[in-house]
């Protein structure tokens, strides 16, 4: 079986595995679901009411039956009701998803705009002081946690400029583009910087590999101008690992950058997960975690497909 076929066949299997894991994980939480759902008000329930509620939510059935009903619900788009938000889980997730998606896109644009040229520059200046400088910056960037960068940005903004990043109610791009960008630009820079460092490192090492290949030497020896050798001959091949890395990072970002969303008080998907944990909203936790894992898996599958389209050796199962 080729690599891609195997990948496509295992995808639904892993997806089912993920749903089982999430389902079981939530049921491992100590305490009964009714108390978890109602909080302190659960104490006011009479035993009869408790039994009725347990039956209503199907909690008196065995796990297999419960899982089956939950799975059927998933196919209908029914992820349950969020107690904390008082509306369907899917609505809460879809409300927050545009912000997370936009933030992920902005961060990726920043990372590629900074990282790719920096990596190519370092590779073409291999061994010179400027290469060293780029590598040092990249290493430091990669080692700095996003929440440290975020706090430092806020500190510099508030002390240096007496300003704070726009927080509060989130305005979607189509309603108020300026306010939207002013809300997202600093979080995007925060996430984009660490991501840019990885892009720089990987594009530098990929470029170095490619620049020593025979076809690049041939292009050089037949007298192609240096610029064309770098941008037309070398870069397209060096892009393969960059595509993989960007795809994976994008998948992570779609999972909601929990820490950065918390620092900038952004109501994204990561915040939903955090709220669900802190408020013990298990339906929401279950739904949002599943949604994020699903996105992550789809993005990774797409990356693999793109990767094999770019590199025929993988399509032929040589990996």
């Amino acid at each position: 079986m080729g690599y891609l076929t195997r990948r496509l066949v295992t995808f639904p299997l892993v997806l089912i595995g993920v749903s089982i894991l999430v389902f079981v994980a939530i049921r491992l939480v100590p305490g009964d679901s009714i108390t978890a759902m109602l909080g302190t008000e659960a104490g006011l329930l009479t035993p009869q009411q408790r039994v009725a509620l347990t039956a209503y939510f199907g909690l008196d059935q065995n796990w297999l039956v419960q899982y089956w009903h939950w799975l059927l619900g998933l196919f209908r788009g029914d992820l349950g009701i969020s107690v904390a938000y008082g509306k369907p889980v899917l609505d809460v997730i879809l409300d927050r998803f545009p912000l997370t998606l936009e933030l992920a896109f902005l961060s990726m644009i920043i990372a590629l705009a900074v990282g790719l040229p920096a990596g190519v520059f370092a590779a073409t200046h291999n061994g010179r002081p400027s290469d060293l400088a780029v590598r040092i910056f990249a290493m430091i960037g990669q080692s700095t946690p996003s929440f440290v960068v975020g706090l430092l940005i806020i500190y510099v903004l508030s002390v240096g400029f007496g300003a704070l990043p726009t927080m509060g109610e989130f305005s979607p791009f189509w309603q108020d583009p300026l306010r939207n960008l002013s809300q997202l630009i600093f979080p995007a820079i925060t996430l984009g910087l660490a991501f840019a460092a990885s892009v720089t490192r990987i594009s530098r090492s990929a470029m170095l590999d490619v620049l020593s290949d025979d076809y690049v030497r041939t292009a050089r020896s037949k007298g192609a101008p240096a610029r064309s050798v770098i941008w037309r001959h070398a870069l397209p091949n060096a892009l393969i690992p960059v595509v993989t890395l960007s795809g994976m990072e994008f998948g992570y970002l779609l999972g909601g950058a929990v820490l950065v969303e918390k620092i900038y008080a952004l109501p994204g998907l990561g915040r939903v997960v955090l709220d669900a944990i802190l408020q013990r909203d298990y339906a929401l936790l279950q739904g949002s975690v599943l949604f994020i894992a699903f996105n992550f898996m789809v993005v990774n599958l797409l990356v693999d497909l793109a990767y094999s389209a770019l590199d025929p050796r993988i399509r032929l199962g040589e990996r």
């Binding site: 894991l21 290493m139 820490l259």
Partner: protein
């Protein structure tokens, strides 16, 4: 000895090695209580004091010495990182060896299980574990350990599969060596190099994840100190007391930098073919 010499002959290995050793000393001192002040002692008269000779890194909102809390915090963060990576590398090695050795159904089950774990972004999986068990130091260790187990399983399984097919393993089998002997002597010993590299890099990620969990209030619980917790506490005070942000921030960054540099150097030294294709 040869490996130490190689590390110190490698520029990033030298820098990374020195940083890591320095941190290990700080962590040990912090854990053993050899700090300039008591990290938990509140000195109400010296609240939010800027750095001085007495308080090298200033004091926090409760008048506690930041330098002492930082030392204890480094100790705490390193304990969590080391134990979780020990967990992950042990579990990953056993699972990876089992998958490679038994093959077929066992391989299928183990690797699909790892695929399921890899379908979650790291911090999300850690958060899920915390949601089940409740926040705390041991939860962080288990959570981070589970998150990084699949990576070790993959690192072990691939080379183990190709080693298993090699002539010397066949020869050992023909001579009647026991399974345990072949697994530990022939397979595991040849996996030391990739495992060492992975362990070093995993320590950097583990420090990062631990700091993240504590920052969210779901890792180490107050009044114990951890770098992530200290940063989280600094959020509302950074304008008046920037030292609360700068020192723990730097401490986290430099520790991760140290392990990254050391990991890169080890990879260059131990396995030149493993030149990174992943970040």
């Amino acid at each position: 000895m040869r490996i130490l010499r190689a590390i110190f002959g490698h520029t990033s290995g030298r820098i990374g090695g020195i940083i890591v050793m320095l941190y290990l000393v700080i962590a040990l001192l912090g854990l053993m209580g050899f700090t300039p002040h008591d990290p938990l002692m509140q000195n109400r008269l010296d609240r939010l004091h800027s750095p001085t000779i007495t308080y090298w890194m200033g004091t926090d909102l409760f008048g506690r010495d930041v330098a002492s809390r930082l030392m204890r915090g480094v100790g705490q963060s390193f304990t969590v990182a080391f134990l979780s990576v020990a967990f992950a590398s042990l579990a990953g090695t056993v699972l990876g060896l089992a998958a490679a050795w038994f093959g077929h159904r066992m391989d299928g089950i183990i690797m699909r299980l790892m695929d399921v774990l890899l379908a979650f972004p790291a911090i999300l999986l850690a958060l899920l574990v915390v949601a089940i068990v409740g926040p705390g130091t041991w939860t962080s260790i288990v959570a981070i350990g589970i998150v990084y187990t699949p990576i070790f399983t993959r690192v072990v399984r691939g080379p183990a599969l190709s080693l298993k097919a090699r002539d010397f393993v066949d020869a050992a089998r023909t001579f009647g060596s026991s399974r345990t002997y072949i697994l530990t002597r022939h397979l595991l010993l040849n996996l030391v190099a990739p495992l060492t590299v992975q362990i070093t890099l995993a320590l950097a990620w583990a420090l990062l994840t631990e700091a993240g969990l504590s920052f969210l209030g779901l890792g180490t619980q107050p009044p114990a100190s951890s770098l992530g917790l200290m940063l989280s506490d600094s959020r509302n005070l950074m304008e008046t007391a920037p030292w609360l942000l700068i020192f723990p921030g730097l401490a986290i960054m430099v520790s991760i930098l140290g392990f990254n540099l050391l990991g890169d150097a080890l990879r260059d030294i131990l396995d030149p073919r493993m030149r990174r294709s992943n970040p």
